[in-house]
Symmetry: C2
Subunit: 444 residues, 2 copies
């Protein structure tokens, strides 16, 4: 959508507007940055000196050009410039909502300036429209850039995880021990730690700040590790003073050893956590991990809406699963889930998607499939499962049944509606006696 920028007012008021903007540009830009710099989120991006040197003049130019395009600023150049700004903001991570907050300040200040003008209403309408148009264009390229950046960040994170984690763990453990050993030698030689340096300034500390923050994104262990490191540097190291008697060192040494042990323990725990990180598939059933459901379902809904093709989902639940678990134990329950997943997967096409949705629930996305076809597939699955002898070591072959809810996509762009409809149908299947298929609405 590329609606043209709003038409200019009559030449005389357009001239007045240009003059007003030029006269007040300095103050308007000042107000804009004052607002942004008052915000914690924005301040990180906008060092004060950089704002003064580079960004203020360019915002000023942008503002003046917005209302006085003249011959040197053709419409195409105007559009290209706004798109470029959005692209740069995405690169330097200035969120769009902060730019909108700054623009709102500009608009309110401009309204103050315009209030006394004979054509105040028209000029206010014009300035609002013009600024909104610029914001819209920026947002367009910002969204694209921010999305690309998020994808790259994720690719890098997954790549980091994929590196030789064992090597990295040992290498960082060695770094920590090396610092500790050096520090102890200093203490033993002189009683003090002069010249040994803080742990946070060591290669280990640097690695924690610049690699671990990314690798263990949001880990509570990492916060504890940072706290322990800070305590070592700020509290424990200063306790060692040159020339102290050996007997005075015992307490501080014990505290330091405990703190270093804690850092080593937390480091190990974090690496341990990585090894168990969840993958793309459920390890037990080999069904897709539920975290990808939204990516896939929203893409399929987009496809169905764009191509006017049908799309259905099945939600399948193993009947009386709790009883199986309680009677035979969890390992048998797991074996049942594995065999149910196998039967489900055997009854769909290579283009369909099978997810482990919950404990004993599976969700199947059936592409280019209407409700009638979906219920047929669901009945086939139900029969196949009821007929299948489950095998588990130490048990006679036994049978399980499943209840299935089917629903067809009805055009709503929100995937939650579709899943909810299948869930409602599944609920009815359970209510109506289990081992049956129910569907949402009427079959065409």
């Amino acid at each position: 959508m590329q609606p043209s920028s709003p038409a200019l007012a009559d030449p005389a008021s357009a001239d007045r507007l240009r003059q007003l903007v030029q006269d007040h540009a300095e103050a308007l830009v000042g107000a804009f940055y004052q607002t942004l710099l008052a915000d914690d989120e924005a301040r990180v991006f906008l060092h004060h000196s950089v704002v003064q040197e580079r960004l203020s003049p360019s915002l000023r130019r942008w503002l003046v050009d917005l209302f006085a395009p003249g011959a040197d600023m053709a419409e195409a150049a105007f559009v290209a410039r706004q798109l470029k700004i959005g692209e740069v903001h995405a690169r330097i991570k200035i969120p769009m909502h902060l730019v909108m907050a700054g623009a709102a300040v500009l608009k309110q200040r401009l309204a103050d300036v315009l209030a006394a003008d004979p054509a105040a209403f028209d000029l206010l309408r014009l300035t609002g429209g013009r600024i909104d148009y610029a914001l819209r264009l920026m947002s367009q390229s910002y969204e694209k850039g921010a999305s690309n950046r998020a994808r790259l960040d994720e690719a890098y994170r997954l790549f980091s995880l994929d590196q030789d984690i064992h090597f990295e763990r040992e290498s960082q453990r060695a770094g920590l021990m090396e610092w500790s050993q050096k520090t102890l030698f200093r203490i033993l030689a002189s009683g003090g730690v002069e010249g040994a340096g803080a742990l946070s300034a060591s290669p280990f500390g640097l690695w924690i700040r610049h690699r671990a923050e990314f690798l263990f994104d949001g880990s509570s262990h990492l916060a504890r590790l940072n706290a322990a490191m800070e305590r070592i540097d700020a509290e424990l190291l200063p306790r060692f003073t040159p020339g102290a008697a050996a007997s005075d060192l015992a307490g501080p040494l014990e505290a330091l050893e405990a703190a270093v042990d804690e850092v080593a323990f937390l480091l190990g725990e974090m690496f341990q956590g990585l090894a168990g990180m969840e993958g793309g598939r459920d390890p037990l059933t080999r069904a897709l991990n539920r975290r990808f459901l939204s990516s896939i379902l929203s893409r399929e809904i987009g496809f169905a809406n764009a191509n006017h093709t049908p799309l259905s989902v099945l939600l399948l639940d193993v009947d009386h699963f709790k009883r199986i678990n309680d009677t035979h134990g969890h390992p048998i329950g797991d074996e049942v889930l594995r065999q149910v997943a196998e039967a489900v997967t055997e009854n769909v096409r290579p283009s369909d998607f099978v997810f482990r949705y919950g404990g004993e629930e599976f969700l199947v996305v059936l592409v280019e499939t209407n409700l009638r076809q979906a219920t047929t597939i669901a009945e086939r699955m139900r029969h196949a499962l009821a007929a299948k002898a489950m095998t588990a070591s130490g048990l006679e072959p036994f049978h399980v049944t499943v209840s299935i809810g089917a629903a067809e996509h009805r055009g709503h762009p929100d995937e939650n509606y579709l899943v909810k409809a299948a869930d409602d149908a599944l609920y009815r299947a359970k209510q109506n006696g289990r081992n049956r298929v129910e569907y949402d609405g009427a079959v065409a």
Copy 2:
């Protein structure tokens, strides 16, 4: 940043505004959707019937509540509602700039409605401020949601790539051949293809639309494969008519065989392309792939700005590399690059980042390092390399030199400034005779 919503005008004009919005809500909402549905991008999300049934009434409620919050719509509830809308838009992929375009339409129509009011200017200012505030809140949660979604999409794409590609390739090749064989049996039995079904409707065709589109995102081969598949279904299959003489089948059969071969060839090529897909590291030098530079550098710039720590980069280029390649051949040139990368990596800390930046260029990100320290590290690298005997099979040990440009981050949030400064310094190092280090600006 959570600026409060603009203050309401005096009670009488606030009442008039509420009445005006209510009276015109129907028309305003109509204009909003007319604009969005005229847009190709937006139409995909908003099926007409869905808009009528669900979205129009909720936009109408939103609009009325925006100006008549009343007792039942406290400020916190207002904020929560806008944030929720942004979240939903991110989920159903309605881009923020389209919402802004719709809002611009609302504002312009509202201005028409308000123009005759005695307090037109104030009301216009108020409505603009109120809508902008709502948009800002939506944008805030939209950006977060869209970024999470982009990360998940990428994780899923990389997960798909990681699956058993060889198995998938053979399985889809078999699917294509199975369709082809079935179709040929029909033709040989009757001369026609009734009941054989289109290739695009076969499991293979479905797989192409729902899996390959994602796996081979944007591949030109895929576009050609889709075109070939469409030609088979729309042009070639209709040439077979039941009861045709065997002699009439020769031409159409030849054309069909060629087209199926083309589809098989393109499928193979696409899978081939996946195998050679670039990973996180340059396979030759094991340096990081340049595509992650932006993710890493922008994160480090954010860290430096937030923590007031220094940050520097080195750009390193092998001197006279073309001569090495020309004299000894590319394999020797590759060996030189490998050994240069090794020497560079040996001279940085575990927390630094070494990228293959171009053919014979490497970029090093030095965290928590100022320009003085960076030039020291650069000089150490330069000496280490000049002293290092390069070894390559069939050649006497020989030496290469490097030129290095160093630059320190000066606060600008755009990473391109920093890389550009290092590049300028590298250029000077080359101009000043090579085998030397130059730096950007004055060393503190």
